[in-house]
Amino acid sequence: MTVDAEEVDPSAAAARSVPADASVVLRQVSKSFGPLVAVSDIDLVVRPGITAILGPNGAGKSTLLRLICGLAKPTTGSVWVAGGNPRFDDTARGHIGLVPQQDGVFERQAALETVTLAATLSGLENPEAQARRALNTVELDPDLGRPVGTFSKGMRQRVKVAQALVHDPTVLVLDEPLNGLDPRQRQHMIELFRRLGDAGRTVLVSSHVLDEVERFGSRVVVVAKGRLVAEGDFHEIRDLLDTQPHRLRVNCADARSLAAELIRSSAVLGCDIVDDETVELTTDDVRAARRLLLAAGRNLDQTLHAITPLDDDLESVFRYLVGRSA
């Protein structure tokens, strides 16, 4: 039998097992949309500092963030954020600042109006002054009078970040926040998020770009197919990814003789001859395999036209992690 998370007091259930320094706790959280399971049985404790949620598109990152903000109710399990359940607890919700993934903004308002509204609704004194401060933080001119609807994607993104920051939230939830920003703005935002993390805020940021996550220098939670498949600091995750088998395609003069040469080495786990001039090999040590290829080319006196990694993309990394956790 599944228990509807809202039939019991979810915040109380979660609070029983909340570590003292945790700001976000998910216990056995699942979320289904009809037959589609978007998030499956996730246990997660998030502490102050930056935590990156890494996963391919459609992995369930946004659903996970929506659950954390209380925007969606879990099918099972419980969510606890800053002392309560954000779906029902105004105080808990007041601790959250969200930059949603979607592009929607109040098109007819000026940036200052949008952020002032957010400040007013958060109960701040002197909301306009707070809105100006937040807009300055994201390097947007508060006196830019034109409607947000006329802004570029990057400027709209900065308005979204400003409205999320205006009430100085303890938990900042950022769903792909660097989308649409130019490189300089990206760097500025990354530095801003790092500063907030260093200052003791909990910054949860989702991304599907590994390099982006690396720049946050953060703890990483890897989500794939709705499941949490790995977590640790970035270097741990990177090391973990490096243990997966890699595949290389080699274009050469004689695939058959090259494959026969390669298969003798322990660095090569397998070889497929694709055609007379192409061989694909599987290895768990890419550097050793490359050295071996060059040596084999010399030994056989044949030219290697190209060596192409076949699975250096993030999707294959996630596939590997999913398979590993299963």
């Binding site: 929506r66 903000c69 209380g70 925007l71 969606a72 109710k73 029902f88 105004d90 105080t91 919700r93 007041g94 959250i96 969200l98 949603p100 979607q102 929607g104 903004v105 109040f106 098109e107 007819r108 308002q109 109006e113 949008t114 509204l117 957010a118 007013t120 609704l121 958060s122 109960g123 701040l124 004194e125 409205q163």
Partner: protein, 242 residues
């Protein structure tokens, strides 16, 4: 900070989103048509049956079409548009009770619906009757009650249904225009019957659907608006926000 200040901020933000050029043109069109038709009726009908003709026209055009359709257009998009363009999250996530958002949405919708219901149709009543104060007052009150009730109902409809405009038109044209007129039980579930009753009783002219008491006519639209605000708040509490 007081609840009133937050509600005012929500109200202003929601109101700002409503007034677009195309909608203002539509309001203007409906209003001008009301005045032209009232003038035409007033000039063509004999003086002793003029009041009856004008009240009949206000019942059909005002209560039957103009007020419900314009209320639907504005009220259903007050929150519905935010759902559609995924901006509701910016208001929903703030630490405020849901009733404040529901109340602000109704107030924003009614702020537009009330004057566009009361002013042009009262003016039409004045033009058509040659300035009969009693008819003008009855028109203003009944149209105002209709606008208040429909605003609440259609704000909720816009939040709950994706194609709220379509469902609202089905309610107006199928339920209120046909089903409600077929039987007393169905009529009781039609909002239109209450302002119709107020208009009929204050003008002493028999109108279809005008079978409720004066008290019911005055109270039910306001109560319905209040219940709609409560239901909107309840829905906002339960809904999943994108």
């Amino acid at each position: 900070m007081s609840s009133a200040r937050r509600i005012r901020a929500l109200y202003r933000a929601l109101l700002d989103q409503q007034l677009t050029k195309s909608r203002l043109l539509l309001i203007g069109g409906f209003s001008v048509l009301a005045l032209v038709l009232a003038l035409s009726i007033g000039s063509q009908v004999e003086p002793d049956s003029r009041t009856e003709a004008i009240v009949g026209f206000l019942s059909v055009y005002g209560l039957g079409f103009m007020v419900p359709i314009l209320s639907l257009l504005f009220a259903s998009t007050t929150l519905g548009q935010l759902v559609e363009d995924e901006t509701l999250v910016y208001l929903w996530l703030r630490p405020n009770p849901r009733w404040q958002l529901a109340l602000a949405a109704w107030a924003a919708a009614a702020t537009i619906a009330l004057p566009i219901a009361v002013i042009p149709l009262s003016a039409a009543a004045a033009i058509g009757t040659g300035g009969d104060g009693g008819i003008v007052a009855a028109t203003g009150l009944s149209m105002g009650l209709a606008a208040v009730g429909y605003s609440g109902l259609f704000v909720l409809l816009g939040l709950v249904f994706r194609r709220a405009l379509l469902w609202g038109l089905v309610y107006i044209f199928i339920w209120e225009l046909f089903v409600a007129r077929a039987g007393a039980g169905a009529a009781r579930l039609s909002l239109n019957t209450y302002p119709h009753s107020v208009l009929a009783r204050l003008t002493d002219i028999e109108l279809p659907l005008a079978e409720r008491s004066m008290a019911a006519g005055l109270i039910v639209p306001v109560v319905l608006a209040g219940l709609s605000v409560a239901a909107t708040a309840w829905w906002l509490n339960r809904a999943e926000i994108t």
